[in-house]
């Protein structure tokens, strides 16, 4: 990481193979640090959920947390997708919410202070956020065309559009519809990468200021305070981004289920 006494704020996003794997469709599949952290996320989600599986009549603290998260996702679905059809999308929205939330929070944990561990934020890779967004968008397309056939295109014509305006409005709406997977993927990716870079840059300031010595120690202190604030803000952003991704996915699915 350190190169001539400097921290490269981007190196935390580098993917390194741990075990060289096999070849699939002409692409080398290796078990990388990214894959490792994905499985750590999976393990954490599993441990978290197991704590809520006691299914006691009077729940303990852990069970209340798990039931709270499940109720939260149920609530997103209930308020976003009108009609009873929303229930069948609960697993996917739950998967999205939990994976993004745990990946975001795990990336913010100060695990880097343990020697040998290099924390990796899975959701700071647009290959990951992209796949999630593409799956969500595919669900919207498949459900929309399956349920409404070609009538699905009426989604792009808002009610009460004057007749001469229809072609123009249609193109605009279609464009904004097609942009959805990109905005979905990039929003999460950018939010994650920005916070992590910001923290690393200011960490770099701290080291350089201490190296310089003298009055610049003040800069180091200011930078540490700033890092603390940004970290707190980032923890909030972690939860908000997971919520936004799940909420927008349910809203898009609502479009496909109910058109307008």
């Amino acid at each position: 990481m350190a190169e001539e006494g400097k921290i490269d704020p981007m190196s935390q996003f580098a993917i390194e193979p741990i075990v060289g794997g096999f070849e699939l469709f002409g692409q080398q599949i290796s078990f990388t640090n990214s894959a490792l952290w994905m499985f750590v996320v999976l393990g954490l989600i599993y441990v978290f959920m197991i704590g809520g599986m006691k299914r006691e009549l009077v729940p303990g603290r852990w069970q209340i947390m798990v039931e709270g998260v499940v109720g939260f996702v149920d609530n997103i679905i209930a308020t976003s997708i009108s009609g009873p059809a929303g229930k069948k999308y609960t697993p996917w929205v739950f998967t999205l919410f939990m994976f993004i939330l745990f990946a975001n929070l795990l990336g913010m944990m100060p695990l880097g202070i343990i020697p040998g561990i290099h924390p990796f934020t899975v959701t700071s890779q647009f290959t990951v956020t992209g796949i999630l967004a593409v799956i969500s968008f595919s669900i919207v397309l498949i459900v929309g065309f399956w349920k409404h056939k070609l009538k699905f295109f009426s989604l792009f014509i808002p009610h009460g559009t004057p007749l001469p305006m229809i072609p123009l409005i249609f193109m605009v709406e279609l464009l904004s519809f097609m942009v959805r997977p990109f905005s979905l993927a990039l929003r999460l990716f950018v939010a994650m990468i920005a916070g992590h870079i910001l923290i690393k840059v200011f960490a770099n300031f701290v080291i350089q200021a201490i190296d310089a010595g003298g009055a610049s120690i003040l800069v180091a202190i200011l930078s540490i305070v700033f890092i603390a604030f940004v970290s707190a803000l980032e923890l909030l952003v972690c939860a908000i981004q997971a919520y936004v991704f799940a909420l927008l996915t349910s809203l898009y699915i609502n479009d496909a289920e109910n058109l307008h």
Partner: protein, 161 residues
């Protein structure tokens, strides 16, 4: 930016492992565990609702019992009052009848006594008349020597009365 620089060499493994992890979360956790947790919550909610309904029903029944009790007490009270009143009325009636009966018998006795008295008076009067007439006849005979018939004497005595 490693995300772009490494894109071509890592996208395969990224997609592969992400799909596996997402698939495990989807099929084993979201599809399997989440409904159970939801069911636990629903069951608890249902239990609470049921218990509340049972408590409400029990309270309603208790209130009903209390009301029944109160009405039966009230009924018994009013019953007793009416019985007492009835008994009082009956007693009063009996009393009145007895008094009336006594009154009539007393009146009858008084009447009888009265008539008996009157009859006795009349008898006495006639007896007195007879005695007086006799006496008058005797007196007349003694005093004047004239003989007076009993009838004349009687007439005179009657006139004198």
């Amino acid at each position: 930016m490693p995300q772009i620089a490494q894109l071509m060499e890592v996208y395969g493994s990224q997609f592969f492992w992400l799909l596996i992890v997402i698939g495990i979360i989807y099929f084993f956790i979201a599809k399997n565990m989440v409904p159970k947790i939801s069911k636990t919550v629903d069951d608890r909610q249902k239990r609470i609702t049921d218990d509340l309904a049972a408590a409400q029903a029990a309270q309603d029944r208790a209130e009903q019992i209390e009301e029944d009790y109160r009405t039966s007490i009230n009924d018994a009270k009013s019953n007793a009052v009416s019985k007492v009143n009835e008994a009082k009325a009956e007693a009063a009636k009996k009393n009145e009848a007895a008094v009336k009966r006594a009154d009539t018998s007393i009146a009858k006795k008084a009447d009888e006594a009265d008539t008996a008295l009157k009859a006795a008076t009349a008898t006495a009067l006639t007896e007195i008349e007879a005695v007086a007439a006799e006496a008058a006849k005797d007196i007349v005979a003694t005093v004047s020597g004239t003989k007076v018939t009993a009838a004349q004497a009687k007439k005179a005595v009657k006139a004198a009365f």
